[in-house]
């Protein structure tokens, strides 16, 4: 009896066991995908597929197509290729700046709906044509992996704020904050992060240059580590400090009516480089002071820029929402540009290296 059942079952299994297989070497793994606008209707889609060589090196292969939505593009590309394209290992999603200014939501939907795409993929904006950027040859890795590693390394080193697909969506859907994304461009046969794109909802509205990245990261993340900041002293000496630890706290007063916001930034750093000769207490004090001033001005300028554009990458709104009992997104949006926001910076140099 049991044997009969089992054999019947095995036959059934064999007959119906033809699930769609994605055997690793029979698919083309898309590691990066890029979008350029062509006209109002159509997009140019570029996908990067690594080609693994037997000597362990990798080069990339790009495929381009034109379609109005990505899936269609994918279908067209499948038609041309001997192996199907799969997006499960997607590492980087690149958008042309012009496209980002029009809004990302319509094209990001595919990435959110597809269960095979990971939420750790990096989302980035480029000023150049993405197709060109992705077609270059930069290292022994394929371009998708290369760009992903580059962004990741920047985040680890403390220059770029933490950002990926999940965080972007979190920011996009949040009531009291707005998302941002790194801007990458080619630079001397390499790819480099050249700034941060700021979004209002899903539309890119402005950007920050690369030299304000340190301040931006310190401002948007409650706790930061690593990253190098340079400042100039009054006597033209240049100093570089390495951030050991950074803390940002936001204090809000008078939440319900017209909130006033105080941002406290505390930095602990060590001196990496100093063009002057000896670091004594006086100079140490000067160094701390000049860094504090520089960060403070940068931060204040940044915040007033945010207020002007009515965007909130720092998440002041979230902070108020978590403290207020009568939170209303609409009201906050109206109030935000006129909010009084002050920045306070406190820098402590803990070490000066192995020489004085």
């Amino acid at each position: 009896m049991i044997k009969k059942w089992i054999s019947l079952l095995l036959i059934l299994l064999l007959l119906t066991g033809c699930l769609k297989k994605n055997i690793l070497d029979d698919v083309r793994l898309v590691t990066a995908i890029g979008y350029d606008p062509i006209n109002t209707e159509e997009l140019k889609i570029t996908t990067v597929v690594p080609l693994f060589r037997s000597d362990q090196s990798t080069s990339s292969e790009t495929h381009t197509d034109i379609a109005n939505i990505t899936t269609e593009g994918n279908k067209k590309m499948d038609n041309m290729s001997s192996k199907p394209f799969v997006k499960g290992k997607l590492e980087v999603i690149l958008y042309n700046k012009k496209l980002a200014e029009k809004g990302l939501l319509p094209i990001i939907d595919l990435l959110v709906r597809d269960p095979s795409i990971g939420t750790r993929a990096f989302l980035a904006i480029s000023d150049e044509e993405v197709n060109q950027l992705l077609s270059g040859q930069y290292s022994s890795q394929d371009n998708g992996m290369y760009i992903a590693d580059m962004i990741n390394q920047n985040i680890e080193l403390g220059l770029t704020p933490k950002m990926n697909l999940h965080l972007w969506l979190n920011g996009f859907y949040a009531e009291g904050s707005d998302p941002y994304a790194p801007i990458i461009n080619t630079y001397n046969q390499n790819v480099k992060i050249t700034g941060i794109a700021l979004f209002k909802d899903d539309k890119m509205v402005s950007d920050l240059p690369s030299d304000s990245l340190f301040t931006f990261k310190t401002l948007v993340q409650p706790k930061t580590k690593r990253g190098i900041f340079t400042a100039e002293l009054d006597n033209k000496e240049v100093v570089a400090i390495y951030k050991v630890n950074g803390k940002r706290t936001i204090k809000v007063k008078n939440i319900e009516q017209s909130p006033t916001i105080k941002v406290d930034i505390k930095l602990y750093g060590i001196i990496k480089e100093f063009s002057g000769e000896v670091v004594n207490d006086k100079i140490m004090h000067q160094i701390e002071k000049s860094i504090e001033d520089k960060i403070k001005t940068q931060a204040s300028e940044m915040i007033s820029q945010f207020q002007e554009l009515n965007i909130d990458p720092v998440g002041f709104g979230e902070e108020i929402r978590s403290k207020s009992r009568s939170w209303n997104q609409q009201q906050w949006n109206d109030k935000y540009p006129d909010c009084e926001i002050t920045v306070n910076v406190d820098v402590t140099i803990t070490e000066t290296g192995i020489v004085n």
Partner: protein
């Protein structure tokens, strides 16, 4: 019905045997060339009957013949008292006579009397006690069971010199009349376990028992399970150890193994050496062994599942290695895996069938040559070769041979399910194995204990082996009559500093 009829028939046959008379029996025996009879004419005419192949010639010449030829005897009683052999008896029961002659007794008949004297002059042909081969340990005793029941019993009795050690003897097998000795300790062993075992052995219907594994297969709770439900060991010390835990054991004449029950799944993964080593070392070894088992069962199926369906799960740094290793290979992962698994099974099987020295050579040559060649020919990927070889190695860490076989076997269903349904298939197969293990019992006691039913007390000697001071209670699994092994307080007593 058919079975019943056959049973009745065999009964009738036995009946007719009982009706045999002594001359009939002798006539039947005379058909064999090694059945000897010699007439002795000193006083009364006597005839001596024996099987030359069963009887020790020297003993016969030394201890029997000189005495019966010395003087004239009136009756058998007198002879019995003269002969310096204790094991002799006078009987007219035809069944006894038949059995004794067939087990190395010689029969002395006065005239043509129905009543005879049986004298034991058995030829003892048996291997010497040697070192254990399968369960070899570096430390600890190095005696292993041999094929003789008496020797085996001696090995156990000398380790347990207490009157409570009970040996029940049963005979199984219509043709082989194999003796089975059931060992238990009165006052410790649960009577129910003992009775279950006895009942099951008594109920065996079979003509011949060649080895103890026949009995193991016949009395297992689930005959169809690939999992062994009784441990067989060649170490008398292990048998003694489990007897003192309250388990039951039995020895079979002609088999160099002791069989232990009731047992649990984890017992199959505990080498006896674990008890000779320090508890920390032993525990870590045991955990490694358990990990090896899981690894051995799951790793190839997971490889197949991930490469066939879930490429997303592969870390990006590993991606290049896997893709390059597989780029030349025309086979899908399942065939690749089966090819290698079969190759390893072939090597193992060939190695097992050949003499040791040739077997080793085959293993090395086969392993290296086939492995390298198949990678070079592009039949398998080198990554999988490593995985399969490791999995095979891991399966050999199982201390009980029969369990090792099972583990290698159940890998294949996992492999197929992984091919059909990816990781879901693996977890469904796991559910089936779990269900099967939950249903299994050993001598009526749960097989998965102490995992289920959860028994904290028994966990002290399951995945890890805690120090002896923790082992003051017998495992609940055995339901021993006396649960206390020794006084824990005394064992745990600590010395005050500097006193």
């Amino acid at each position: 019905m058919k079975f019943l009829k056959r049973f009745q028939k065999s009964n009738q046959k036995q009946q007719s045997e009982v009706d045999q008379t002594l001359p009939d029996l002798i006539k039947q025996f005379e058909g064999s060339k090694d059945f000897k009879q010699s007439n002795i004419i000193v006083g009364q005419p006597m005839t001596l009957y024996y099987f030359s192949s069963l009887v020790d010639d020297a003993a016969l010449q030394r201890d029997v013949l000189p005495y019966i030829q010395k003087k004239e005897f009136q009756n058998l009683e007198e002879i019995k008292n003269t002969i310096p052999i204790e094991a002799s008896e006078i009987t007219n029961d035809i069944r006894t006579i038949q059995n004794k002659i067939l087990t190395g007794y010689c029969m002395l008949q006065l005239k043509h009397n129905e009543t005879v004297l049986l004298i034991k002059v058995k030829k003892e042909k048996s291997r010497k006690v040697s070192i254990p081969e399968v369960e070899f340990t570096v430390v600890g005793p190095k005696e292993a069971f041999v094929e003789s029941l008496d020797t085996n019993l001696n090995l156990i009795r000398k380790r347990l010199p207490i009157p409570e050690l009970r040996v029940d003897e049963l005979t199984v097998g219509k043709l082989t009349k194999t003796k089975v000795a059931i060992l238990s300790i009165e006052g410790i062993t649960n009577e129910e376990n003992l009775n279950t075992l006895k009942q099951r052995i008594e109920d065996i219907e079979i003509d011949s028992i060649i080895d103890s594994s026949y009995i193991v297969q016949l009395i297992s709770d689930n005959h169809h399970s690939p999992f062994p439900q009784l441990v067989d060991t060649e170490r008398p010390d292990r048998v003694v150890a489990v007897l003192s835990e309250g388990k039951v054991a039995f020895l079979v004449d002609g088999a160099p193994h002791g069989i232990i029950g009731p047992t649990t799944l984890v017992e199959f993964f505990s080498a006896f050496e674990d008890y000779f080593l320090n508890w920390i070392v032993a525990s870590i070894f045991r955990l490694i062994r358990l990990f090896a088992v899981m690894f051995s069962i799951l790793v190839t199926p997971i490889y197949v599942a991930v490469l066939t369906y879930h490429y997303e799960m592969i870390p990006k740094d590993l991606l290049g290695v896997l893709v390059t290793s597989r780029r030349e290979i025309p086979l899908p992962p399942i065939l690749e895996a089966i090819f290698l698994e079969l190759a390893i099974e072939l090597l193992r099987e060939a190695g097992a069938r050949l003499p040791t020295k040739v077997g080793q050579t085959i293993g090395i040559v086969g392993g290296i040559v086939i492995g390298t060649a198949s990678v070079e020919a592009g039949l398998t990927s080198n990554v999988l070769l490593i995985i399969v070889a490791l999995a095979a190695l891991a399966s050999f860490t199982t201390p009980v041979y029969k369990m090792g076989n099972t583990i290698r076997l159940i890998r294949f269903p996992f492999l197929f399910m992984a091919h059909f349904w990816g990781l879901l298939g693996v977890s469904i197969s796991f559910c089936f194995v779990m269900a099967h293990l939950l249903r299994l019992t050993s001598l009526g006691r749960p097989f998965l204990e102490p995992i289920f039913p959860p028994r904290v007390n028994d966990l002290k000697d399951a995945f890890v082996r805690l120090p002896w001071s923790f082992q003051s209670k017998r495992p609940i699994e055995t339901q021993a009559q006396d649960t206390i092994r020794f006084n824990q307080k005394k064992a745990k007593q600590k010395k005050e500093i500097d006193e």
